[in-house]
């Protein structure tokens, strides 16, 4: 995982109050949202993550489809931020 991916994962855990997650066990391509996610996050968490990312990195996820694609994994999220900031 590159430094931005690591930083994003930590930000997500802080935003969603996920204190008992073992960050080392999360892979860069693991799903971030939904029942298959090791984080156990849902769509309300996704919304908070989108708002936090906009505040921290100045990158807006314009629509539900964009956030659905971008929040597939920490790799997707980091790539989206790099491409849009």
């Amino acid at each position: 995982m590159d430094p931005l991916q690591q930083e994003l994962l930590e930000l997500i855990c802080t935003t969603c109050n996920l204190h008992d997650v073992d960050l080392a066990s999360i892979g860069p391509d693991d799903p971030l949202i939904g029942p298959d996610s090791p984080l156990g996050t849902d769509s309300l968490d996704a919304l908070e993550i989108a708002v936090t990312v906009q505040k921290e990195y100045g990158v807006r996820m314009d629509s539900e489809n964009t956030s659905r694609v971008v929040l597939q994994s920490v790799t997707h999220l980091a790539d989206y931020i790099k491409a849009n900031r």
């Binding site: 969603c16 109050n17 949202i33 939904g34 029942p35 298959d36 769509s43 309300l44 968490d45 919304l47 908070e48 989108a50 708002v51 936090t52 906009q54 807006r60 314009d62 629509s63 539900e64 489809n65 964009t66 659905r68």
Partner: protein
């Protein structure tokens, strides 16, 4: 395998995306945001007498089918629309259109669409998509069951396609008309549940939920408002951003800096909707910050109302000068 020569462009919202894709296929190249704007897609309505999953409907965009109807009304555009009682007949008619190389728009129930991840499936029957091919009995984007999903807004096999679109279109009068229709709904509806009045009505109601419903049920209602806003094709913030993109495109076409300013102001309103939704999500998840509360959400919604009132008053004035 039957695969039509159809350039599918990913869209943010199904109905405006389908409209733009079908028009582009017929040689009239317009963006999704422009289809959304011309189609008068933006709206707000808090409709507690319509229940979705037992909770009041909050919608941030025009009724399903509104955009397509507006697009179909453009001179030179011919749209064929059919509904069916019989499933076999509906599928046969779809095959018939595909065999004639016509990409077909369908209204479907999201719950039955196999390409939706299971976690994101819900009973919403007004999802539009384009079918542009078939492999054996597998349609490229479709399923018979989704066309006959039951419940609210049941699609009844609805299919539609364009038979004609103008090669060129002078966009100015259409975008002015689209802006006028949205301004009318947002500012001048006689119903207190619609437009800016509706936003304020929701704010007032939401502030009373903890006393009226008890905290647990109030949070349930709140979660529903947020899901309606950000997830199920009714998205508040997202539609404000799309309409802002339409205004930005219109500003370039009309060489009109006022529209550019309105685009920026509406983007700010979209961000405020998102702030409201994020605060609501934190409250639902019981991880609210010290500043998060029902009164703070009421204030946030009232800010959204005030921002949108200002934008649409400016747009209404501009449209009057250009109609």
């Amino acid at each position: 395998m039957l695969l039509l020569d159809f350039l599918h462009t990913q869209s943010a919202h199904c109905e405006s995306g389908v409209a733009a894709n079908l028009l582009t296929h017929h040689g009239l190249n317009i963006s999704e945001a422009m289809a959304f704007g011309i189609g008068g897609g933006l709206f707000f309505g808090y409709l507690p007498f319509i229940r979705i999953n037992g909770l009041p409907l909050v919608t941030y965009r025009a009724a399903a089918g509104h955009i397509l109807r507006q697009i179909a009304g453009i001179p030179g555009v011919c749209m064929v629309e059919k509904k069916f009682r019989n499933r076999d007949e509906a599928m046969a008619e779809l095959d018939h259109a595909l065999a004639a190389s016509i990409p077909v728009g369908l209204q479907t129930g999201v719950f039955w669409l196999p390409y939706f991840p299971k976690a994101l499936r819900f009973h919403f029957n007004a999802h539009n998509l384009v079918v542009y091919g078939k492999e054996g009995n597998e349609y490229l984007i479709s399923l018979a069951r989704a066309r006959f999903a039951s419940g609210a807004l049941a699609p009844k096999g609805k299919m539609y396609y364009l038979t004609q679109a103008p090669a060129e279109l002078e966009l100015a009068p259409h975008l002015v008309r689209g802006i006028q229709s949205v301004c009318k709904m947002m500012l001048a509806s006689p119903f207190p549940l619609i437009g800016v009045k509706g936003i304020r009505f929701l704010a007032k109601r939401l502030g009373r939920w903890p006393q009226r419903l008890g905290r647990e049920k109030a949070d349930l209602h709140l979660g529903h408002v947020v899901r309606m806003q950000e997830e199920i094709g009714t998205g508040g913030g997202g539609f404000r951003f799309m309409y802002a993109a339409f205004l930005q495109e219109s500003a370039t076409i009309m060489q009109e800096p006022r529209l550019q300013e309105c685009a920026a102001a509406l983007t700010a309103a979209g961000d405020t909707w998102r702030e409201f939704a994020a605060m609501a999500a934190r409250i639902c998840k019981k991880r609210g910050r010290p500043e998060d509360s029902y009164p703070a959400m009421v204030a946030c919604l009232n800010r959204c109302g005030a921002m949108e009132e200002k934008v649409f008053a400016e747009l209404r004035q501009w449209a009057r000068q250009h109609s």
